[in-house]
């Protein structure tokens, strides 16, 4: 019986001493952390995608608390709503940013851009890019091995088996930019979603001379400059035989889309144009 009491006493004493040691150590080496960091982190989506440029949501929350100006910070996944809530929580203001979406600037499907060689190695765009310029004659276009699909954490990109090109699901895309970094050909660009999610862009990145580009792909931008001339807002610039539409200046008039001789300019989410439909002549009985 005695042994039991002694054991309990010794262990209790030991526990008490260690607890005291731990208490003083904890006091001495206490890390003072702003409690607001936890609060901000709780408001963030927690995807840890790195789209903001930080290592993860925690690091972004720290940045938000530390930063003097929230305007330079943006969580692409949570968007304006999250940033507004973060600003409210921190008692600051933040300006609203236009929502963005990833845009694939290549339309070189098998029909438009015939394959001249066959690649049968490891299916990765990064590997193909170290070996040669790709299966078609266009050395700028999509390699079609799907590195962007593999890297997307939101399941927003998929390969279209018919065209062999990646397709972005605009409802799922958070514009985190992971695919932009993964693409060795720099085909994917983050562009403004646009009013009513309508946007116009040049779906080509070929910087070769017109004849070379056209020979490699039927829908390549040949740098003819017709779109530049027709644009009433000076939104289109042409560098290295390639047109680029500035989303900040573009007013979505769609004049360039009609003008492009190779159909390289794409419009998204516009209502179908009113086509002149010849109505069948009714024969009166």
């Amino acid at each position: 019986m005695n042994t039991v009491i002694v054991t309990i006493l010794v262990l209790s004493l030991l526990g008490l001493i260690l607890a005291l040691v731990l208490y003083f150590v904890a006091q001495k080496f206490k890390v003072v952390e702003d409690p607001r960091i936890d609060g901000v982190q709780a408001l963030l989506p927690g995807a840890n995608c790195g789209g903001c440029g930080d290592a993860g949501c925690r690091a972004f929350a720290e940045d938000c608390v530390k930063a003097s100006d929230l305007d330079s910070l943006f969580c692409p996944v949570g968007g304006n709503e999250t940033m507004k809530r973060v600003a409210e929580y921190l008692g600051r203001t933040v300006e609203e940013k236009a929502p963005r979406v990833a845009v694939v600037r290549c339309n070189g499907s098998c029909v438009n851009r015939p394959r001249t060689t066959i690649y049968d190695g490891y299916p990765s765009c990064a590997v193909v890019a170290t070996l040669y310029t790709g299966e078609s004659d266009c050395r700028w276009g999509c390699l079609g091995m799907g590195d962007c699909v593999a890297v997307c954490t939101f399941d927003a990109i998929s390969m279209d088996p018919d065209t062999g090109l990646p397709v972005v699901d605009q409802n799922r895309c958070t514009a985190c930019g992971a695919c932009v970094k993964a693409c060795p050909k720099s085909i994917i660009e983050l562009r403004n979603k646009g009013p009513k999610e309508r946007r116009i862009f040049v779906s080509c990145v070929n910087k070769d001379k017109g004849a070379v580009a056209r020979k490699a792909c039927a829908v390549a931008c040949i740098g003819c400059g017709k779109c530049q001339k027709v644009c009433p807002f000076d939104a289109i610039t042409i560098n290295n035989f390639l047109a680029y539409i500035d989303p900040g200046k573009c007013r979505l008039c769609r004049k360039c889309v009609n003008e492009c001789p190779t159909n390289a300019i794409h419009e998204v989410n516009f209502p179908a144009r009113a086509l002149k439909v010849e109505e069948p002549v009714k024969i009166e009985q």
Partner: protein, 445 residues
Amino acid sequence: MSRTFSLGGIHPKDKKISADTPITDFPPVEIAYISMSQHLGAPSEPIVAKGDMVKCGQLIGKSSGFISANIHSPFTGTVLSVEPYPDLSGNMVTHVIIKTQEDEWIEGTDTSPALVKEIKLTKEQILKRIAECGVIGLGGAAFPTHIKLSPPPGKKADILIINGAECEPYLTSDYRLMLERGEEVLTGARIMMKALGVDKAVVGIEENKPLAVERLKSLVDNEYKEIKVVVLKKRYPQGGEKQLIDAITGRRVPSMGLPIDVGVVVQNVGTAYAVYEAVQKNKPLTDGIVTITGDSLSEQKNFRLRAGTPFQQIIDHIGGFPEEAVKIISGGPLMGKAVSKLGAATVKSTSGLLFLTAKETLREEENNCIRCAKCVEACPMGLEPYLLNKLARASRMDDLEENSVQDCIECGCCMYTCPSHIPLLDTIRGAKASVLRIMRSRSKK
């Protein structure tokens, strides 16, 4: 007993089916495409313009940096244009396009086949001549020879190794050169010994080339007594610089190091011949021996082929694209590069053109790794390819660097030996490129 290197290696089938074909001259083409980036390092600067008349051996591309080389015209003719043109992998490189006419060499070039043994030039003159004549390594990497022959201060070579291993299957260009131009090759070796200031030189030849061994041995016994001929066991990648040094001297080149760090300079037999022509005959390097081979070809060839000959012209000359062939490789089957543009032209360092059939190029379906460690056994650099493959697929760059992916020589032994047909080299090569890029950007900071 014949020697070999200590780590890894494989024994692919020999397939030297073009070994008995003597070297013949490839006829000049009508329009030649001379690349301004035939060597490792900065591309040369074209110094001719449209409409200029050029002669054989005339300088058309000037060396443009420390690691760069001169480029000379292999043809006589008129410059049609200087413009970007795709190379064999489709990348646009500045080419000088020449409409050719009858050959006429620039003055001061000795084009006679007579052998000149006596070395009249001094060490400095030799190095200058080699640089002027645009001699580059013809063993594969195309590194400018004059830089290799001028070791950096503080480092000194004590032995010169002439690489006649030709360990790749199919290729026979070095073999034919040793057999037909043995004396020139050895004179070239002597010139390089003088340039380096070394008194020892070794020619390493694999045992599957007994005639070349016999020919060079008889020459060495009679006259070139300071040069030794060493017979090596047949094993791939014996022709790799680091493997050859290990096989012949037993020295090990440190990681990310150069052969000069262990006092060795390695030059290919083709380079030795080019050095001979440059120094003794004042003839710039404009051509090379190219093996045209493959099971699907009716005739195997060894051509003396000028740089700038489009691949399509070669195919037309040998009677069209063979029916069974599906893939053309420039170089050997293990380290060569697939030709994706037939309009592209050969360069000085092109060593072979290999026509492969569908059966030979078949890639079996990839299976799971069974952890047999055959790849580890086969790796001549002592790496663990199965691990590098996994890390590469997960893009773990710091772990890849820790596991020395940068030491990979891209020989392909791991992929050749893998029973699960895992594309090890593909993934590792991709990762190696990224790791080297990261290391370079770090060293710049």
